[in-house]
Symmetry: C2
């Protein structure tokens, strides 16, 4: 079908950029040649159009994923159909990797938030490889640790900070560390950032306008900060 060819396309041809992201994944860096080859044999690549569903909550899990380009949204649905984002994955991020040693069904929905290229890994095969190749097992542990750390951070941020504070944190994490002026560019739509921070889009908008008096200017995806060290005092 014309449609499915456009929205999902599996092959092993990678753009140079995608290949470079792939090899820089904590998942594949520092592996022996042999381990790398084995991992690549468990891997495929797919292209996804914006809003394309990757998997649904409750589906049997056979693959986990690594984002090469674009962004992916992981979310849950309430009974009434309200959506809550759990995590936004960008280039280099891995998701559903916790199923390597956990349940056998996906615990949330995943959807391409924009056109995206993903590497898929066969869970069964990687589990096998990890049990034989120490460097792969170590890579898995590193990825899991890092993911766990950022997720606990997310809980803490949600519970400790207000919307403007969370937005300020997001900006500061992406600014050159010194004081003075800085400017960054959002890599995605604001509605995605809102979900990432656990906010409704309207709340993000209002948070930005609150931050105006702290020297933050927003025009489209461009964000300018008059004085980074000033913003750091919340």
């Amino acid at each position: 079908m014309e449609h499915s060819a456009k929205t999902m396309n599996s092959n092993l041809k990678l753009s140079n950029r995608d290949r470079s992201v792939l090899m820089k994944t904590p998942f594949l860096t520092g592996l022996s040649t042999n381990s790398t080859l084995r991992m690549l044999s468990a891997m495929s690549v797919v292209n996804l159009a914006t809003r394309h569903s990757i998997f649904r909550e409750g589906e049997r899990a056979e693959l986990f994923y690594c984002v090469l380009s674009g962004y992916v949204r992981l979310y849950r649905l309430s009974q009434e159909g309200r959506e809550a984002d759990i995590r936004i994955c960008g280039p280099g991020d891995t998701f559903a990797e916790c199923l390597l040693y956990g349940e056998d069904t996906y615990p949330y929905h995943a959807q391409a938030a924009e056109n995206a290229t993903l590497a898929t890994f066969d869970i069964q095969m990687v589990r096998e490889i990890a049990s034989e190749e120490k460097d792969v097992a170590q890579a898995v542990m590193m990825v899991l640790s890092r993911h766990l750390l950022t997720t606990m951070n997310c809980v803490a941020n949600d519970r400790l900070f207000t919307a403007p504070q969370r937005v300020a944190n997001y900006i500061l994490e992406r600014c050159p560390v010194d004081g003075g002026p800085a400017s960054i560019r959002l890599p995605f739509q604001k509605s995605l950032l809102a979900g990432m921070l656990g906010l409704a889009p309207e709340a993000l908008s209002r948070a930005f306008s609150t931050l105006r008096k702290s020297g933050v200017t927003v025009r489209g995806r461009a964000i300018q900060v008059m004085d980074v060290s000033n913003l750091r005092n919340l």
Copy 2:
């Protein structure tokens, strides 16, 4: 000092209950005899009095922990001194294990929420053991996966549900699965449950009284549910 002997006491003598919990930890179940012995050699046991601090955010991390009895509170502080719980660990739970392959400082505070017995593991040593013994590496991956899954669940719950819904979820997770009446007993103070659900104690109290009209009765630590399947429709 009399005081420190009372609040912190390191030895290798375990009560039968503690030993049984320890061996049932995902961390130590299913290991070969040799791996088990090596893990035990990286381990100590400590007793802690209520409110005793276990480590502070930013401290250099040399140990990770497994709760044998009692409860431990992991939390962050805001500038103004407000506390936000990130996780409550009970018997069998592991914490700071994400530092095996991550940063080298603790990313949050840890405190005994009541008298507790903990197993401590030397991070450096376990890292070494995991790199040599496959079954240990696998155990680490299982623990990390499970922890990650529950933490993502926590984010989803916080973002999707109101206080009464979160409390209902907590109760339902601990009820026999069928319908009809049920009763459970809280294993700790209500203020701890409040923190676990990301609520102020007052909010938990109000949530309980909201749930009264759904057939939930609370007296001290005892919770009675008139009809489980009824409560399940939020």
